[in-house]
Amino acid sequence: MTGFATMTDPAAAYVLRHGDDNLVLAQRLSEWVSLGPELEEDIALANVALDHLGVATHLLGHASQLVGGGTTDDDLAFQRTEREFTNVVLVEQPNGDFAHTMARQLFMDAYQRLLWEALAVSEDAILAGIAAKAHKESLYHFRHTSGWVVRLGDGTDESHTRMQAAVDNLWRYTGELFEMDDLDRQMVESGVGVDLGALSGPWLHAIAAVAADAMIALPDEVTQRGGGRRGFHTEHLGHLLSEMQWMQRTYPGLEW
């Protein structure tokens, strides 16, 4: 398998980065299966993970078509190295306690609600179709997650402390969601992509509304950590990939 780091098709790279966000988030959420705080929530997390996995499958499938040369969605999921993944670092952060998982999910749900709505009118008709579908699902996700954030934040002293700590710890990874690089600008120009900067205002507005209900204080300006879009990840992604990819790495092309 040749490296994908040389992937030069901008349209494919653009679709892939959003696919990677969903793939990595799906893998993280799946770690909760059988460990959820209650049965209904266990099932809910599995459902949400499945939605993200579905979106990832469609986006990686679309990216592999754009790459051409017989590349498949499985190649992109299982044969790329850590440096070739272009997800934002927020999604690779460990589940932590349930409050951390909910904070990470709240930030992503609020972001994806806006992202998918904007991408639903992309000039790339396939991307637009996938986004329109994902948008409907992100509304469910946001409702579910914000309910938990309020329940925990406005709950007991213990749950409040944990929810506040989760928001404080993960806030530093949210800036990357709205960073625009050359590829983003190129895609906006061609009508395929989204002006991410324009999403940050509405995102903050949505987060602030949930935080107010949840008695959670949003952090002041903190130094933001990004780099994921360029393949510079936190230490956590390598561990996640080694678990996700080991079967295909050990037996390449294995099917059952």
């Binding site: 949400v48 939605d51 579905g54 329109a132 579908k133 699902e137 469910y140 209900d213």
Partner: protein
């Protein structure tokens, strides 16, 4: 080569049911979007209910085996995402079949206050037909269903979520 019309192929595909809700055909559900026969070759277009619907692979292979069993060798099955699937495409007949199978809906799910708790408009218990029902979880046994409980008869039941 089998010569057939679009409608004849549609009729054949009524054998293909949702593996998770086997009382509904893919046409009932609105998953089957189009059938086009042209010069002996068949193009079947389907769309997923939810992005991660795990039944799509099986549905695809059942369409293939139904076509093959009826003598079609020249066919393709395409998945489209646009327009996005909606429960509005479910037929009235499908809703009755669902209820008789023990699944209510589709009904819209709305948060009660700022995301805590949910209320479902017009969710009628498929067992005793009471409308005194409440939601246990917005996420049920499959992606397309929510988990409900009936306050009158006390039985839990699935609700097909409106999307």
């Amino acid at each position: 080569m089998t010569v057939a019309t679009n409608d004849q192929v549609r009729l054949l595909l009524d054998e293909v049911v949702d593996p998770e809700i086997p009382v509904l055909t893919i046409a009932d559900l609105g998953v089957l979007r189009d059938v086009a026969v042209s010069e002996g070759s068949v193009l079947v277009t389907i769309t997923p209910t939810y992005s991660g619907c795990p039944a799509m692979d099986l549905i695809r292979s059942e369409i293939a085996s139904t076509l093959e069993a009826n003598g079609f060798s020249d066919y393709s099955i395409e998945t489209v995402f646009s327009p996005a699937w909606t429960t509005d495409w479910m037929t009235e007949e499908a809703k009755v079949k669902l209820r008789d199978y023990g699944i209510a809906g589709p009904a819209p799910v709305e948060p009660v206050v700022s995301g805590i708790g949910y209320q479902v408009s017009a969710a009628v218990c498929p067992l005793c037909r009471s409308d005194e029902t409440r939601m246990v979880s917005e996420f049920g046994s499959t992606a397309c269903k929510a988990l409900m409980v009936c306050s009158s008869c006390g039985e839990p039941f699935d609700l097909f979520k409106a999307l």
